[in-house]
Amino acid sequence: MIKQSRRKETWRKIKGAIVLILCLTGIVLTLVSLAALLFDAFQQGLPWLDLQFLTSFASRRPEQAGILVALFGSIWVVGLTALVSFPLGVGAALYLEEYAPQNRFTSFIQLNIANLAGVPSIVYGILGLALFVEALALGRSILAGALTLSLLILPVIIIVSQEAIRSVPATDRQGAYALGATRWQVTREVVLPQALPGMLTGTILALSRAIGEAAPMIAIAALVYVPFTPTGPLDRFTVMPIQIFNWVNQPQSEFRGLAAAGILVLLAVLLSMNSFAVFIRNRYQMRGR
């Protein structure tokens, strides 16, 4: 009997060790591939990354080429996307959580939002091309790109915002109702202030996904040379992922270095957006609770 239980004991320990090794392998693989990517990008890109690169237009001559137009394009597109998607997403989430009746129609909508979050981004690109570029005749403009990206990240923003709303304690709502607040007053005075940090964090993370999207942007903006920085939402544009894709496709090896430098700029923008999200979360997270 004792022998058997000892054997079981050893087997338990082995199982524990196996799980530990599996988990460690996972994290090591992730970190190593990230490090390899960064090392490669830095090694190739750093020599090209200078002020001239940041302030120049695209060019056929590698030594004169820069990312300025694409950087501006990305900022324009993501800024407009934020303006469109945040109010719409928060509004939809508030409706679903606070107002919608609990019936089949609501759960049908809910199910579809969850499904939309999983649709490949190129599908949104094709939809945007047909709907915004062609049908609404916005052309290959920043606005068309921003609306397309808004569609792409709306499901994510809605889901994240719903979770933020659900995390507001029910006792707070009841306290406000018991004081004679209307539903809108409860939403505005109790739910929104407490849910807003979570909504903002989720939206910024969704936007940083949008800024790295190449596929739908290629469908909307096409692979073209844009010789000016945009001045309005109806201007033609290009974005960083397209520019990087473009450079990678060039035959001369110098363009590989340019692409790597572009990746570094894109990563820097992503990193600052994500740090901003973390900052907001830490600053406002459950004040005093």
Binding site: Q102, P169, T171, D172, R173, Q174, G175, A176, Y177, A178, L179, G180, A181, T182, Q185, E189, V190, P193, Q194, M286, R287, G288, R289
Partner: protein
């Protein structure tokens, strides 16, 4: 009739949550400017009964209420009832202190602002008066802008009482207001409840027999959704009419 002057008149009240029949045919008159305690074992419908008075049960999906409640002879369950005005007049204090995560001052000003009752100096006066009414003013007057969560549990509960007072109710419902507090904080709140009874009609749900005996003028005893015994606290504790109430009071179940 146990009470001759009636502030709240509950008639043939029935409440269902889905198919669950929680309150069964309750008839009860609540005396003005007195403390009425509602006792009974867990799940007997005490909380649902008081939440019927400010129609808070309606927040729960699938709830259904029949019968009628009159406050000062006016119907609570009528189509013409202004439910927000009703809840202003019927304040409520919850089991667990639930201040909003904002400053002490803003917690009190919250209700008056909702109802556009006052602003500026007038609002400041309401905040001071309410905090005094909640026996909290002396402890917080120098830190009104601190977050309400910096207060102790007992202070938070008194803040919630003051918050309810700020909208000038005439009835205050309390749902086991001391169950999450230590004995010292409980004693303070019990004293406060006695003071409140001078100006307000107070209904307090409690698990605690001693508490009911200490603070209330009238005691109701409920069992599985029914009102089993109702009368002056002294009478109910000394000479309970029903066997169930007697068994509960002597600690045979609970």
């Amino acid at each position: 009739m146990v009470v001759n002057k009636v502030k709240i008149d509950i008639q043939d009240l029935n409440v269902w949550f889905g198919s669950k029949h929680v309150i069964k045919d309750i008839n009860m008159g609540i005396k003005p400017n007195a403390v009425t305690a509602v006792m009974g074992p867990s799940g007997c419908g005490k909380t649902t009964l008081i939440r019927a008075i400010n129609r808070l049960n309606e927040l729960i999906r699938g709830s259904k209420t029949t019968g009628e409640i009159y406050i000062d002879k006016k119907k609570v369950y009528s189509k013409d009832t202004d439910i927000f005005e009703l809840r202003r007049r019927v304040g409520m204090v919850f089991q667990k202190p639930n201040p909003f995560p904002i400053s002490i001052y803003e917690n009190i000003a919250f209700g008056p602002k909702l109802h556009n009752m006052a602003d500026g100096e007038e609002l400041e006066a309401i905040v001071e008066k309410s905090l005094k009414g909640g026996a909290l003013w002396d402890e917080v007057k120098d830190r009104l802008n601190d977050n309400a969560f910096s207060l102790s549990g007992g202070q938070q509960q008194r803040l919630c009482i003051a918050r309810a007072l700020a909208v000038e109710p005439d009835i205050i419902l309390m749902d086991e207001p001391c169950s999450a507090l230590d004995p010292a904080s409980t004693a303070k709140i019990e004293m406060l409840i006695r003071e409140l009874a001078e100006n307000y009609t107070v209904i307090i749900v409690t698990h605690n027999l001693q508490q009911a005996a200490r603070v209330s003028d009238l005691t109701a005893f409920m069992y599985v959704g029914k009102l089993v015994e109702y009368g002056s606290t002294k009478r109910v504790f000394e000479k309970p009419e029903s066997e169930l109430a007697e068994e509960y009071i002597t600690g045979k179940f609970g």
